[in-house]
């Protein structure tokens, strides 16, 4: 079994219109920019994929990455906790124009819903958002004298994740705080595609330090020296 894929373009080729896509990263840290770029290039060439539901903590920054996907009209709905950034224009304009739907989820609930999706837990109770507008319409229950909100799992058709090392079985390590949503998103998608800085031989990642075991990964593509969103934005790059 060999899960390696040659190019980002090949890695994202199967994502159809209307798919739900988890995209790793917290702001630019951990954003799988080269996979996103391949998706954008495909969209520019073919008009697909569009009408995507994207799950990400944020909604992009500037004119690259997720922000570019939104500005290009590829995204019908965002599920996120914090649709703001240094330069949030792409999302803000689409949202205020009614061109994009927003499901706002508290950050910890977002992470836990994704973790639940991967762990086969269809629903759980959390104190988060109890008594607030974000709990409107959700079941509540009392446990040990305290009130909680019932939240549902979150799964997706695809996950696009950035990691550091990967092997042919899909075992992964991450780099610093770029880990963030990657490990849980890998578990919660029907098909998980990961860009790694380096593909290494099976057995060269110590089994003790594997963060995402390969069982959660379907494809691994090497992107050496991946771009950083912050650097692209400082250079005023645009993918739109």
């Amino acid at each position: 079994m060999d899960k390696t894929i040659s190019t980002p373009a090949e890695a994202v080729a199967a994502i159809p219109d209307g798919a739900s896509v988890m995209i790793g990263g917290f702001g630019g840290s951990g954003a799988p920019l080269e996979l996103i770029k391949a998706l954008i290039d495909r969209f520019k060439a073919t008009g697909s994929p569009k009408n995507l539901t994207v799950i990400n903590n944020n909604t992009g920054n500037g004119k690259v990455g997720l922000a570019a996907m939104i500005e290009l009209g590829m995204v019908a709905k965002m599920i996120c906790s914090f649709p703001r950034s240094a330069d949030p224009r792409a999302f803000t304009e689409a949202y205020l124009a009614g061109k994009i739907e927003l499901e706002l989820v508290p950050q910890g609930t977002l992470a836990e819903r994704i973790r639940a999706g991967g762990a086969g837990i269809p629903a759980f109770f959390t104190p988060t958002s109890y008594g607030t507008d974000l709990a409107n319409g959700k079941p509540t229950a009392e446990f040990d004298g305290r009130m909680y909100v019932q939240e549902r799992w979150l799964k997706a058709d695809f996950a696009l994740v950035k990691a550091e090392l990967g092997d042919a079985l899909g075992n992964l390590t991450y780099r610093k705080a770029a880990r963030n949503f990657g490990p849980v998103m890998c578990t919660a998608a029907a098909r998980t595609i990961v860009q790694v800085s380096k593909i290494v031989e099976c057995g060269s990642i110590d089994p003790e330090v594997v963060v995402t075991p390969g069982i959660f990964v379907n494809g691994v593509v090497e992107v050496a020296n991946p771009a950083q969103e912050e650097a692209l934005n400082r250079a005023e790059e645009s993918w739109v």
Binding site: M1, A119, N171, T187, G203, P207, E208, P213, G214, I215
Partner: protein
């Protein structure tokens, strides 16, 4: 009606192993099902999961070289294959419950025609113990059972309904027995393969619920082992 000719445990395990694809993620129940790992077809390499937090383990180490921090769910010493990973128990059962395993192969006291499985309690008092079986039956994409076709007393283990405490409801999709290979579809036992030496009627007599067919019934052919 004769059960003189039947498959050995090794042969049942061999037959079950033939249905495991290359690269499949597989959990084998403790005891008899562990034997399935020995019979992977040439050119195929499954990746074995154990509940206690290891993916991609290999064979037992030589006696005297065991590391007792490196065991499987049956508490037997194991070795690692390249590309192995360790993880904690909650992550391990996230793999199980989250549907990430392709196949789980378990033993059985009883299997019902609707896929119910009873394999954790004889209901006879003593100390009950369940382990990971109840999780496995609701997690793996395919839950198969390997078992003798009848009990030591000659009573059917494949039944219209289980009489022993259930491990899971409607979870088993294929049963490999000492006499046959039987799918569970639409609430029925569907006979796929049987030993050439046993007639359909004799097999039916050893089975506690109607055996259906859906096209040809193939001969169950296994090597000497």
């Amino acid at each position: 009606m004769s059960t003189d000719i039947k498959l050995s445990n090794a042969q049942i395990a061999w037959r079950a192993a033939q249905d495991i694809q290359d690269g499949a993620y597989v959990n084998l129940g403790i005891g008899f099902p562990e034997m399935v790992a020995k019979f992977q077809p040439e050119g195929r390499q499954a990746i074995f999961h154990t509940e206690n937090g290891v993916l991609n383990f290999g064979e037992a180490p030589a006696a005297g070289t065991e590391d007792w921090d490196l065991i499987n769910a049956g508490k037997k010493a194991i070795t690692l294959r390249p590309g192995a990973a360790f993880f904690h128990h909650a992550d391990s059962f996230a793999m199980v419950r989250g549907g990430h395993l392709d196949v789980a192969i378990l033993g059985a006291y009883q299997v019902a025609q609707n896929g119910d499985l009873a394999n954790w309690s004889t209901g006879a008092g003593g100390v009950p113990a369940v382990g990971g079986a109840m999780d496995l039956v609701h997690g793996a994409k395919r839950v198969a059972v390997i078992t003798e076709h009848v009990t030591k007393k000659g009573e059917p283990k494949l039944l219209s309904a289980c009489t022993l405490p259930l491990t899971g409801v409607g979870c088993v999709t294929r049963v490999y027995t000492s006499l046959a290979v039987i799918d569970i579809e639409g609430g029925h036992f569907v006979l796929r393969e049987k030993l050439p030496s046993i007639t359909f009627d004799d097999l039916q007599a050893l089975t506690g619920a109607p055996l259906h067919t859906d096209g040809d019934v193939a001969d169950l052919i296994v090597p000497e082992l």
